[in-house]
Structure formats: C-alpha cells, structure tokens
Symmetry: C2
Subunit: 433 residues, 2 copies
Amino acid sequence: MNENELLERRRRALAPGYELFYREPVHLVRGEGVFVWDHAGRRYLDCYNNVPSVGHCHPRVVEAIATQAALLNTHTRYLHETVVQLSERLATKLSNGLGTCWFVCSGTEANDLATQIARSVTGHHGMLVSEYAYHGNSDLVLKLSTDSYPADRRPDWLGVVEPPNTYRGPFRLGEEDLGARYAESVSRAIEGLAERGHAPAAMLVDTSWDANGVLIPPHDYLVRSAAIVRAAGGLVIADEVQAGYCRLGDTWWGHDRYGLVPDIVTLGKPMGAGHPVAAVVTTPEIAAAFSEHSDYFNTFGGNPVSAAAALCVIDVIDDEGLLENAHQVGGHLAAGLAELARNHEIIGNVQGSGLFWGLDLVGDRSSRRPIAREDTKRLVSRLRDEGILTGVTGRHGNVLKIRPPLPFGRDHADHALEVLDRCLREFSETAVS
Amino acid sequence: MNENELLERRRRALAPGYELFYREPVHLVRGEGVFVWDHAGRRYLDCYNNVPSVGHCHPRVVEAIATQAALLNTHTRYLHETVVQLSERLATKLSNGLGTCWFVCSGTEANDLATQIARSVTGHHGMLVSEYAYHGNSDLVLKLSTDSYPADRRPDWLGVVEPPNTYRGPFRLGEEDLGARYAESVSRAIEGLAERGHAPAAMLVDTSWDANGVLIPPHDYLVRSAAIVRAAGGLVIADEVQAGYCRLGDTWWGHDRYGLVPDIVTLGKPMGAGHPVAAVVTTPEIAAAFSEHSDYFNTFGGNPVSAAAALCVIDVIDDEGLLENAHQVGGHLAAGLAELARNHEIIGNVQGSGLFWGLDLVGDRSSRRPIAREDTKRLVSRLRDEGILTGVTGRHGNVLKIRPPLPFGRDHADHALEVLDRCLREFSETAVS
C-alpha cells in the first residue's frame, strides 16, 4: 500500500473535515495492550487513547464481542439478560441510587438525551456549561460545546461558567477560597440566564475538564456549584465520558473524586473499549418522571453485543485491578512529571491525576504565556517520531495531553518520561519563543 | 433463568420507557439467517427485523468483526484503509457524485448531521418532513419526527408535508395527477415556512414512509417534490435508514426507485447488520462547503471494526445476490399478499415492495375505517404464538408490518403467508368490530 495513494483515496472518499493527527499521519494496522503498530511495523507506546480503555484488542473483550455477535444481535424490544446485567453492574459502580440506565451509541447521544431529560423533568430550558468545554456534536450538544463555535453565536439559553483552572484562570493556587470563588461564576451564569428569561435545567460538567487542558478543581468547587444549580431548580449532569472508568486513578468516576452526587451521569468513549456504546444513568425517580412523556428507544443502544462488550470491560477492570493500577502508576507519573517540571522551564504546570495528565507549556514561567499551538503540535510530532503517541489540548492549544489505556504500567511510564525529557530538552533548545 | 425474575430485574435496571414488544415478551437467545430462537428453544421466523440485514449472525460479518476487533480498533484520526474502502464501495452503489462520506453511529446521528449540513450550506433554517414521520430522537431529530410529539409543539421552522398515501390520504389511486397533487403539499409547506419567516434548508424524506405504514408514492411524486424544494433553495435528504440496502427489491436505495437524485443520503440500521454504524453521504461540493465551517469528528464513527462490518455487509449482499433475492421473493410475497387480500376483507390495502410490506387493516372496506391499534397488536401477538415475528406501524396503528432480513426465501414467504392466512381467518371471525 502506497501511503500517498491511500491519502489521496481518503481525500476523495471522506469529507474534507476528516482531519488526521500529525502532518505525516500515522497509519496504524495493529494494536495490543498499550502498544500500536504502523504499516511499516513500527511500534508506538500509546500515551493518548482512552477509548481502548482496557488496552488495545483485549482478548477478553474481543472474545465477548465475537461470541455474542455469533449468537444473537437484536435490540432491547426483545427480552435479553445481558443489558440488564450491564445496568446492574453499572449501578454497583455508582452511588446514591444512580442505577437506572438508557443505553445509546455515543457520548454525543448520551449528552443529548441527558439534556432532554433535564429539560423535561425540570421544565426549565437553560443549560450551564464551562467555557471551552467539549461534550459532543449533535445539533444540541454542539451548542453545549463552547470550544466548537464563536461565543457570539451562543443561544440565549446557554450560561457559560468559568472553568476551575487554578493555574491559568482568574483565581489561582495560593489564593484563598478558590472553590467558592469559582463557584460564584455559576451564580453569575444563572443570573445571566434569568436576565434572558431562562432558568437552568442542568449544569453539564466534564469532571476532568479535558478540553481545558485537564483540570483538577478546588476540592469543594463541584459540591458548591451543584448546590447553587440545585437552589435554582436545576440538575447536575456529570459527563464522565473522559473522567469515568477509573481514568483519574482514585475513583471510578470523576464526580466521586470531588464528593459530587450528580443527578444524571453520562458515559461514553472507554465504555466498550472501542465498541460504540454509551449510556445515561440516573435515579429511578428522574427516569420515571422523564418516561411519563417519553419512550426513548435507541435501535443499537444496549443491543446484546454492545452490552456484552461493555459488561466485559467492567469485568476486566475489576479482575485486572485497573483502578488500582491507574492509582499506582498515576502516582508514579505524577512524581515523574513533577521531576520533569523541575528540569524544564517550558512546563508551566503539571495538572491531572491517575492516567490523565496535561502539561501546560509556557514560553515564560512568570507571565505564563502559553506556547503557540503549532509549537505544541511540533512537540507531539517529535514524540511520535520517538514512538510515543500523545495529544494537544487546552484553550490555547498549549497543553500536552497524556491519557494512555488503563493497563499502562510503571515501565511504560518510565519510558515515556525518559523520551519526554529528551524531547523537551531538544525542544527548549530550538523552539521556545 | 426465571422469566418473571428477569422481567423484574429489567424493570429496576432500565428506564420505564424501555418498552418490550408483546404483552408476553419474547426472550431471544440465538439467531441464524431468518430465524431466531427463544430461551425455551422455540424457533421464530423473523419477518420483522431489518437490522440483521444479511441475516442474523451472518458468519462472514461475525468473522469480519471478530478479526478486526482482534487486530486494531481506533478512530479516523489515524490513517486506516478500511474506512476509505467502505466509502469507495458506498459510492459505487450511489449515483450522481454522491460519494463523500461521514461515518457516525446511528441513523439519529446521521439525520442530525445531515440537517446541520443542509442548514450550513443553504443558510436556511427551515426543514420539511412528512406528517407522522420518524427520523430518530436526538433533540433536533426528534423535532423532525412528527410521529413522536403533539402537533401544537412543532417549532416554527418545521414544515409538514402530506405523505403520499394513495390508499388513505386525500388523493387516492384512480384519481388523476396524484404525484402533482401530493407535491402541492410541499409547496404549501414552503409557503407556511415563509409566513413564519423561514426558508427550507432541506426536505428530509424516508423513501419508504415506514411510520406511515410503508407507502409506495405516485411514481413522479419525489422528483416533483424535489424540484419544488430546490426552487426554494433547499436540499433534498433521502433518509435511507429503512428503504436503503436493497429493502424495496428493485434498487439499492429507495430514492433510486423513484428516479430521485438526493443531495444528501443518510444510512443506518441495516448498514452493519447489527453493529452500530451509520453514515451521511453527499457530493464533494456540499461536503466541501460544510467543511469550511465544521471539522465534524465522531469518535466511534468509521472506526476499523465498524468499517469492516459495514464493508462486509455490502460484500455479502453482492456475493449472495440479495438485491435480486429481495426482488424475486418480493414479487412472490406481493402475489401472495394480493391473494390474501382477495380472501380477507380485513385487508384494506397491501402496500410495499421487495421485502417491505404493510397490510393496512380495516374494519370496513368501503369506509376504510382502520382497525384499532390494540387489535393489530393482538394479531401480531397471535402471529408470534404461531412462530412468526411481525410488527405494527402506521398513523392509526392498523398496519401489519412485514420486513424480514434480506435472505428471506420463497419457502419462508410461503410459510409466513400460510400462517398469516390462518391467523387472519381466525382473527376476522373473532374480532373485527
């Protein structure tokens, strides 16, 4: 296969919006655990992909999919046990009565449905989201994705909240009452909605603030914010598409890490380890209230194969101790990244937890001036040349994103840290403007 | 497994809106070809499910999924050949430059994106759909699904068109100029939009009018309607989730059957034979225009496994001659259903084509009074007791829906017709009010 020929065929066959990572795209053909291989046989350590949550091509997940696909694949209008088991298992991972499920195909569908539910049960139309958040791209959810379109085109029912970025935001580490001060932004957003004639149906929050560069909020921020939203009659939706499934290393879900009890939880990417499956989970009361007016049905959602894949992912996480692994290796990574930050002026801040990290890269530490997006991309390309897959995130495109599959081990971390150290040294010598 | 116990667990685990078919639900555990088996080992002839398009658990599709799932499953940000091959193959099945693809996870996502595209490239906001249509259930697409909510809650940008029901609608078989007269309803809907300050971005049309009971429109209706929409600056979106993939027996797509050249085509249910994959296909020009303002990306859409499944489905349809089969068996079914209609007064009309049929059931042929929805359900339950799976559709819930997997053969058709004959006789004797 000639690469240029394939690229040309792709250019003709897919819409122009189909962007590839890297100027010289990676042509992957095989994956196993935390490694992927390109068409030339070159191996890469995957420090980027959370969708293959339990590792690329986990044999148990592959087997679960293959076995069920050979047996039966229909939909939830017929009785089938696996989708019930999946819902029951998810309930054991969630607390406070969160255990009534709808299964869908993508995080987008989950956030779209969650918003419909919140609006239906509260009777309110307003929605609160963070500045520069990403939640998906249906017509509705795209409007909730403040990173995806110009601020002057926001609908009047959208209230936008300051994300709790304690390195780069208006209130910073070292100052007092950070949680309360960031939560005040929620109050202001609700006031803004009221001025435009809306009350909040819900606050939708990615509990890892991925698009903002992976944030660790003040410990009391989410609980305070939730109280404010609820006082205004709104619900709290935790978008766990990024932070969920043990990503942050301490808890199964981002919201648990901060003591938040959401009304609705949305799940996606890691849930099927690559198989298209996602979910909305809520309380029996909210589910009942919504179901009075809706018999939402998703043809593929929760079908026997999707349910088998998602159930197997939970089993593998439990059986292989992947939460504990994310915790242990996360601590190791935290120490290693802190060490890197001591040696590299370009690292303005190390933010994250478990197996989800952002390195906020700066041209100058005192002003915290972000490096240019193109420079971050250059670093990510350099790392790829060294066999390490990472990504770019953050409002300024200056955050290096590290988000490997959950079986990522200490030795993988050490290797990644070593390569990163080398590339950052080289990068600083040649590039920082 | 105690059935009642599983039902009770399901009731607790899934949202109350999760309806099951039949008062005594069917608990399926296995499928093969056009047959499914329940937990008690009972076999059913599947005359209902179009999602397992090439037959339940087709070994080639299972193998394609299992093989690719074991090899690599990532996303379209890395270069991969299969998604390109899939797009190229789809283009060979479509005409007139329709060949630029976006891959998504569900028909809902496809129709949501298609509407976003139409609005973006036309600069118009209005949408035209049929009365009592179903297109999906994202926040946007639910509004386009006129069968799903009360008419007084329709947004002002929605123009609703009379479906071309030549048995039950305002203009009926035997009258003249049916195509033109139904198409006039499109003009009126556009005028209505204009009065409310909107121009049409697109007309979205299910080319089988499934929710309306499976309609065969006047031959020139779609071409005439499309011309009217285009004259008003709108595009035409063919929703091929139901009619596509050879369902109607004459052509791969519903729109081809009527000589319509759509601007955008949406695909879904049958595309992956159960695997969650769907698509939007348009011309290079429209794709380019939309991509100027959007870099739409769908995490699971077109991933290597989804692409392998969808590619295999096309291969199987071609290799097994399933279009020809749908044509042949469709003709056989048409004759058999016409014969049934001669013998059963309750059959007001036989409508459909290929392997997609609706029997419009009436209490009285002269008034065409539809039988009650509960009576249709009772017939469907009776058929299920006889080992035949069918469904209910239509605005009045009086249409018996027959829509088997594509490998449905003559002998399957004969068996279904025989059971149907028996059940209809029994039904007429006991029930018609």
